[in-house]
């Protein structure tokens, strides 16, 4: 039952992030979404991922968003969406329905096969992925410095 409330809270916060007219409120609603997702991850047993999501998603990204909004301004835009409404809803609903039809029948209760520690999976089974991630972080930091430090 608690997962249902977590799912409802997550969806309410996500909808609030999109519906909010003030960008700062959108960033705070997004932080709430990250917090609910982190709680859901923790409740599902992914404790390390939950802590990382809470600190990075609800912390770092929110701070960066607030900083960027402070630099660019709080004003939002009112007006028609970029695409016609009928096309918009069809582009959203068709893939979601297809995804649901393909994946929901595969859901089954967790068989309890004994999970491996996260460190073992990351550093022994997915070593190449971790090394690529480390390189990506450095590339992103240098790229961000180059972009943010560009001439006006």
């Amino acid at each position: 039952m608690s997962y249902v409330w977590l799912a409802v809270g997550t969806l309410i916060c996500a909808a609030g992030a999109i519906r909010a007219r003030n960008l700062l409120y959108s960033a705070l609603w997004l932080a709430g979404t990250s917090a609910f997702v982190a709680i859901a991850l923790y409740a599902a047993g992914a404790r390390q991922a939950a802590v990382i999501e809470l600190s990075v998603g609800a912390g770092l990204v929110t701070v960066l968003l607030v900083f960027a909004i402070g630099v660019t301004g709080l004003e939002t835009m009112e007006g028609p969406p970029l695409l016609p409404v009928s096309l918009l809803w069809s582009l959203v609903l068709v893939p979601l329905v297809l995804l649901a039809v393909l994946t929901l029948p595969l859901l089954s209760p967790f068989a309890g096969a004994g999970s491996q520690p996260l460190g073992l999976v990351l550093w022994q089974q997915r070593t190449l992925d971790v090394l690529v991630l480390i390189a990506l972080i450095f590339v992103a930091a240098l790229g961000m410095l180059g972009i943010a430090g560009g001439r006006r």
Binding site: A46, S115, A148
Partner: protein, 99 residues
């Protein structure tokens, strides 16, 4: 558990996809990208739990968190530069710029 996580994942993907296609403000588009990423995270955990490999699901979730943070950082830096150079974050106005 898996059904609730799956519904949450579909909901987040739907909300994020709708905002990605409909929003004109660049910052809202970046927020929509983040919402899609949350949906992917939840879907990975649900898939890991269903397959009986929650450790693998968790490691993939950590990978997604790191990658998406990198994307958000770069996108926000680009957004700040776009605002400084063109004076607007309206995607419709930006798409009509020439030269």
């Amino acid at each position: 558990m898996s059904a609730a996580l799956a519904v949450a994942a579909f909901g987040l993907l739907g909300i994020g996809l709708y905002a990605l296609l409909a929003e004109r403000h660049l910052m809202k588009v970046i927020i929509a990208l983040q919402i899609v990423e949350k949906g992917v995270l939840v879907a990975l955990m649900a898939a890991g739990a269903t397959a009986g490999q929650p450790g693998l699901g968790q490691s993939l979730a950590v990978t997604v968190i790191v990658t998406d943070t990198v994307v958000a950082v770069i996108a926000l830096a680009l957004g700040v530069q776009v605002r400084r150079r063109f004076g607007t974050l309206d995607l419709r106005a930006l798409s009509t710029l020439k030269g």
